[in-house]
């Protein structure tokens, strides 16, 4: 109770101070905690929204994997962030090979498609292998055991990649000019990369929606998520559907990995950790098990992470707010679980499934 009140009052004071600062920076309330208060310009604000959005959709893409696996198996695949990391590495290796023989500059789009397909395949394979080796034998064990296993898998993958490729940060090759240039869309200044991230995400979301809602496999997935035993009585091969679920989740993480690589152009063995946790947060925010919710949750989290430091923490007089970006994401996680554990779009869960 104390913690809830404290958190809410901090947020409220921060927002009020922010509004005061936007109206008039020399306002006493805005000056109260943050003497150097300056109003954010509209351009700055739009920049924050855009960067929050483009990161948020990536969290959403990764969150889909968490959400789908949770829906089907009821456990949190902690190592899902590592599937994402493997994809970023695959993209790095492939794009470097292309950059070395000059194809990256001369025929960028083709390269991009190949890299995307390759990374998605590798990520899917990683997810499926993970399921086969580590999780399938534990299908019927107590809930915490697969979770602990997935922590082990995540640790193993991180350090295996570190052993293979070394601890140094690797960077993606230079992007073509038309991608790094700024475009102006409805007064929003947005870089080509971010536009592409948004577009690719939308396409993959549409593909996933089609798969889950319009195909027989998708129907089987929903049936397995509802009740494994009954689904198997209806002639559904439950094992195959679980593998498919892991594979599709891995593919989404694979797409997210390449987009992440193009957006930030850097990768190291720990790349998967923070996006993984944040994507889980996004899945929880949207209501775990709900695919549209996962994407919405991702966008919400990305925006919160990008805006909240400037909008809540800075008016409260906290120095170095951009360092607290990650802390904001974790705070969002804690707050959602405290106030609305079923998430924004989650169904009312039975006592067995309640967090």
């Amino acid at each position: 109770m104390v913690i809830k009140t404290l958190l809410v009052s901090l947020v409220v004071i921060g927002v009020v101070a922010f509004i005061a600062q936007q109206i008039d920076p020399s306002n006493a309330f805005a000056q109260w905690r943050n003497p150097g208060a300056r109003a954010l310009t509209a351009d700055q604000f739009k920049g924050l929204v855009i960067s929050g959005l483009s990161q948020g959709v990536l969290y959403g893409l990764i969150a889909l994997g968490y959400s789908m696996v949770y829906g089907v198996l009821g456990f949190i695949n902690f190592a899902h962030g590592e599937v994402f990391m493997v994809s970023v590495y695959t993209g790095y290796i492939a794009s470097h090979k292309f950059a070395a023989n000059g194809m990256w500059e001369s025929n960028f789009l083709l390269c991009l498609v190949i890299v995307l397909v390759l990374a998605t395949t590798v990520a899917t394979a990683t997810a499926i292998l993970m399921e086969r080796i580590a999780y399938r034998p534990l299908r019927n064990s107590p809930r915490l055991i697969p979770l602990i296993t997935s922590i082990g898998v995540s640790f193993f993958l991180q350090n295996a990649v570190l052993g293979f490729f070394g601890p140094s940060t690797r960077s993606y090759p230079q992007l073509p000019e038309w991608l790094s240039k700024q475009y102006s869309i409805i007064t929003f200044e947005i870089s080509g990369t971010k536009l592409m991230v948004l577009a690719v995400t939308m396409v993959s979301m549409a593909g996933l929606w089609y798969l889950v809602e319009r195909t027989k496999t998708g129907k089987a997935m929903r049936a397995v998520a509802e009740d494994k035993e009954i689904a198997s009585l209806m002639g559904i091969n439950v094992n195959r559907i679980i593998v498919t679920t892991f594979g599709v989740g891995g593919a989404m993480a694979g797409v997210a990995g390449i987009m992440f690589g193009l957006l930030f152009r850097a990768v190291h063995p720990m790349t998967g950790f923070l996006p993984g946790i944040k994507a889980f947060t996004a899945a929880v925010v949207g209501g775990i098990g709900n695919l549209g919710g996962a994407m919405t949750g991702g966008i919400a989290l990305g925006s919160a992470e990008s805006i909240a430091p400037m909008m809540i923490l800075e008016p409260l007089g906290v120095p170095g707010v951009t360092q607290l970006k990650d802390a904001v994401a974790f705070t969002v996680l804690v707050m959602v679980l405290l106030f609305k554990p079923s998430g924004l779009f989650g169904e009312q869960l039975s006592s067995e499934d309640r967090p």
């Binding site: 534990l138 296993t149 991180q158 570190l162 950790f273 170095g320 360092q323």
Partner: protein
């Protein structure tokens, strides 16, 4: 267990080729994986037998042995016939090893012809040289085929050997390797006992056993194990058969003996052994605390490192003159008391909001809390109070009035750690059988039933959090006093996970297990930043920790030294099945029905 019927050995060439190729392929992939991850190259610096064998080769050699053994294992089903192990199985091992060697063969050929050192840092001439032992490609390939086939065969022949022979072989090899691994520790101890001549005799100048001493050590180890065979087990059984005053007497004798060894040994040991043991002790404290939270109460707390940080930071702030914001410079003991109180409060503060969540959510949220605390300590926001990324330095040692222990005095630190570990073991041991401990275990087994039995689950779980936090704060205080500084990056999530591995490998909910776990893992492999006996591992120890965690969960979730209750819980299905079998054999129909009904009830 009912008897397994043995059929005569199968025909030699009647092999299950699919099985062989399957295990052979897995073996090949594992060998390539281990080579490319950089293990042989790194471990090559550590010699087991000088100059014949380095740990790098051992890290490859055990793979074919293991897969040879696994491929030739027959699954014994109750009441089914199993063919007697014989030449056929030995050949199975040989073929498995041979198939496995193709992984390395392809790797050698690949490295000879292509250069992909750009992404794969370990690819290239150094590894090629290592794999071919510098004798050219042809020799390397043939050598690996022969070696791998032989090792696979050796693994498979473990099935064929009589128990006595198997014991002799395995104890000779394991004994040799452990003596070689313990080299630094034995070297350090020998100076105290004036036994340098023995060390000079066993070990070569540049590390590792000499050829001759390796043979001697193997023989001695085998002899010891044959002579001691059954005796230890018998003594243990005798001890547990004792009752009343006799048992009490022996318990006191055993306890006194252990205490005497632990107290006297460090006096003869040098800095190396003492600092190693101090590391083990600090992680033992942490692991005992986490054992209460995870092992007894069944709450998976991944942000455990936060309490370690609270203990460390509060001690540093209270004792260091360099603390940027508030520097009372009080002594270690009052600082420790304050940090214990603060850690308890932190336990309540973190525990209270999350305690009602279900296990897996709780794990991720505590992980989030652990990261938040580290990020806050690191940020500019709290820099004026806790020094940000530069941390707090100049933390003085421990002053107990009559004696002063500086952080650089390994012996003193060891005794300090020892005292706290003993206290922590005592606390855990007393708590385990207490009313609170029993309610923790009830909650772990079934929370709803526990609640229905009148246990206040929220309060009990919070108490587990608090007790765990207090033990972690001990470790934090001692570590800070020992190192003399505190930085936010000492408190990464990594630390939580390593402690979790220690608890799980040792055995959740088992105090002896946790002790064994911290000695084996922290002592041999080392902590997140602290080197163990095999410091050559470097970052690779984390890979091993991850693999161990997965392996233990798949094969032995109760740990190396399990607590009886926990392992029954985890193997409830098998337990019930056994009971069902017994009922089938001994009792008439009615009993059988109730037993099977119970089984169904549990599986639903």
């Amino acid at each position: 267990m009912t008897e397994i019927k043995m059929a005569p050995a199968a025909k030699v060439l009647d092999q299950d080729w699919r099985n062989i190729f399957r295990w052979g392929a897995i073996c090949a992939i594992t060998l390539v994986f281990i080579s490319l991850v950089g293990m042989p190259a790194k471990l090559d610096l550590r010699l087991i037998i000088n100059p014949t064998l380095s740990l790098g080769y051992v890290s490859l050699f055990w793979i074919p042995v293991m897969f040879g053994f696994v491929a030739s294992t027959h699954i014994a089903l109750e009441g089914m016939e199993v063919s007697r192990p014989g030449m056929r199985d030995v050949l199975t091992g040989l073929f498995t090893g041979l198939t496995g060697s193709f992984g390395l063969v392809l790797l050698i050929l690949g490295m000879n012809n292509f250069d992909i050192t750009d992404p794969l840092v370990n690819w290239g001439p150094p590894l090629l040289d290592l794999l071919t032992t510098g004798r050219g490609i042809g020799t390397g390939i043939l050598g690996w085929m022969a070696a791998s086939a032989f090792l696979g065969m050796a693994g498979a022949s473990l099935h064929v050997l009589t128990p006595l022979l198997r014991r002799i072989v395995s104890s000779a090899i394991l004994g040799m390797i452990s003596i070689a691994i313990l080299e630094d520790a034995i070297d350090d101890l020998s100076e105290g006992f004036r036994l340098e001549w023995l060390v000079d005799l066993i070990y070569a100048k540049r590390g590792g056993l000499t050829n001759k001493s390796a043979i001697i050590v193997a023989i001695v180890m085998a002899a010891v194990s044959v002579l001691a065979q059954g005796k230890v087990k018998k003594a243990k059984a005798n001890f547990f058969a004792l009752e009343g005053p006799a048992r009490k007497k022996w318990s006191v004798v055993l306890f006194a003996g252990t205490a005497a060894v632990v107290i006297i040994l460090p006096m003869f040991a040098g800095g190396y052994v003492n600092s190693l043991l101090a590391n083990v002790g600090i992680f033992l404290l942490l692991a005992l605390g986490l054992n209460i939270v995870v092992g007894l109460a069944g709450i998976l707390d991944l942000g455990y490192v936060a309490f370690f940080a609270v203990g460390g930071y509060s001690t540093a702030v209270l004792t260091s003159p360099q603390s940027p914001w508030f520097a009372p410079e009080i002594g270690f003991v009052p600082a420790l008391l304050v940090s214990v109180v603060l850690a308890g409060i932190a336990g309540l503060a973190i525990g209270a909001p999350v305690i009602r969540m279900r296990g897996d959510y709780l794990a991720i949220v505590t992980l989030g809390f652990g990261e938040i605390i580290r990020l806050l300590f690191m940020s500019d926001f709290l820099k004026p109070y806790f020094g940000g990324a530069q941390g707090i330095v100049n933390v003085p040692g421990v002053e107990l009035g009559f004696l002063t222990i500086s952080g650089t005095d390994p012996k003193g630190v060891f005794y300090l750690v020892l005292a706290f570990s003993a206290l922590a073991i005592y606390i855990s041991w007393r708590l385990q059988a207490s009313r609170l401990g029993r309610s923790w275990m009830a909650i772990r087994e079934d929370e709803q039933v526990a609640e229905a039995m009148g246990i206040n689950t929220v309060n009990s779980k919070l108490m587990a959090f608090v007790v765990g936090a207090v033990l972690a704060s001990f470790a934090g205080s001692i570590m800070v006093a020992r190192v003399g500084s505190v930085f936010p990056n000492s408190f990464m999530i990594l630390v939580s996970i390593i402690i979790l591995v220690v608890v799980i490998v040792g055995g959740m909910g088992s105090i002896p297990g946790v002790i064994v776990g911290s000695f084996v893992l922290i002592g041999v492999l080392g902590g997140p930043r602290q080197p163990g006996l095999l410091q050559e591992f470097g970052q690779l120890k984390l890979l091993i920790y991850g693999a161990l965690l997965v392996f233990m969960m798949l094969k032995r979730p109760e740990g190396l030294v399990p607590s009886a209750r926990r392992s029954q819980e985890l193997h409830q299905d098998e337990f019930l099945q056994d009971a069902w079998f017994k009922g089938d054999d001994e009792a008439d129909g009615s009993d059988e029905q109730t037993a099977s009904a119970e089984g169904e009830g549990a599986s639903v």
